[in-house]
Structure formats: C-alpha cells, structure tokens
Symmetry: C2
Subunit: 133 residues, 2 copies
Amino acid sequence: MSDPARETGTLLDVKYDANGLVPAIVQDHESGEILMMGWMNEGALKQTLETKLASFYSRSRQKFWIKGESSGNTQEVVEARIDCDQDTIILKVKSNGPCCHVGYNSCFYRKITGPESLETVDEKAYDPSEVYK
Amino acid sequence: MSDPARETGTLLDVKYDANGLVPAIVQDHESGEILMMGWMNEGALKQTLETKLASFYSRSRQKFWIKGESSGNTQEVVEARIDCDQDTIILKVKSNGPCCHVGYNSCFYRKITGPESLETVDEKAYDPSEVYK
C-alpha cells in the first residue's frame, strides 16, 4: 500500500515490525563497506540518535545493547538515513575497531558461491579469543 | 547463542525468521551505495542465485517479485554475501536504472536530522509518473 506522507515527507515515522523492531544496516562512512545489521526498538533508536553511538535491541537476549560495550569496538554514528517506507535504517559510522565477533572487520566476510556453499573471502582482522574473555 | 558451524563454516544454512524470510540488502557493486532492502523466502533466494537477477518476496502483497519487473530497472547480481549468523544477505548488484519507486537512485534518500525530522539529501533521478503508469 502506498503511503505518500511516510514515503516523501520530512517527519520521522518509523514503521516498526510486529515485534516493535526495525532493522538497522551499519555501513562504514568512508569506504561504504557494510559491517553488520542489527535490530532496534524505539528506545535503541532514540539512544543511538542522542548519544551518536550505535545501539541495538538484541532479539536473542531480549535486551538493549551498545555495540562495543564488551569489545570496546564502538561505532560512532556520522549520519543516519531511512528508506522510503521508513522500515529500514542505515547508520553510517566511524568504527573504533573491527565489527564482527568472529574476527573480521565486517560480519559479511563470506561469499555465497553455490546453492549450498560459502567461501571466506575477507582477511581476519583480529583474534576474538584475545578480546572476548 | 553461538553456533560455530553456522558462523564460520562453508555451508549455506540460512536462518530464516518465523515467517520464513531473510532480509537482503542491495548494494551497488561499484560505488558501495546501499540501494534498498528487500525480503526473500527460500524460493526467492534460489531464483536470485540461479538467474542472477535480484528477486524477493513481498510481505505486503504476499508474492514473489523480480526487482524491475514493472519498471524495467532490474538488478544484476555480481556477488552475494551472508553474515556470520546467516540471517542477513547482501546482494552486490549492477543496476539497470534507478532503484526507488519514489524517484531516487536509492531508497535511502532521506537523512534523519532530529528525533522526529528528516531531510531529503539526494537528487531525484527520474519522474516515477513516467515509469509506473
């Protein structure tokens, strides 16, 4: 259903999903590399916009979290964008360290190479066992 | 919950949500600009990987769709990636025309400028009334 006010207006009117969440894509503000995608509830979005530190709502742990609160690898929000139907957000960030808990700069370090196969194409950025103790 | 096989293995094992869907971020393969985010079910992912044309499942219309089937502005998939927990996909694409039905190259043409405000920061790429008749 088309919704012109939401699609072209200048009022932030986020369309949260049935669980009250909206996906937020995190992108390096300089290189354009996509680092991760997280989920936000209204509180996490408010906090992110106020503090300029990327903050999310964990669906598995059912709690608010600030990216980097364990690792120290926080993400400073340089710019936030929203899409036409206001159900997806982009955070353009300056990262204080690598993003992915598995050890890569981006969570998207594997390429889909076939109907059931993946290939790791990025280089490891750090050893997670040294960070998450 | 950590799941090492899914997080670091080379087997594609997509973690679909409760509705059988996975979000797919569409990114320009050259500029790195994020163009849109769509949702895929297993069939749409399979079709996308086979045909190399970005294809999705519409949550509102509850049907399969190929990006550009109305407008002609298809997206050729140059590379597909998946994240550590295999619940988000990136399609790096070569676009045959602008992406957003409102008239912009990217759906993310508005910046969040305050707790309730947006600003259009991109230039219009085309007139939608000339394309969607």
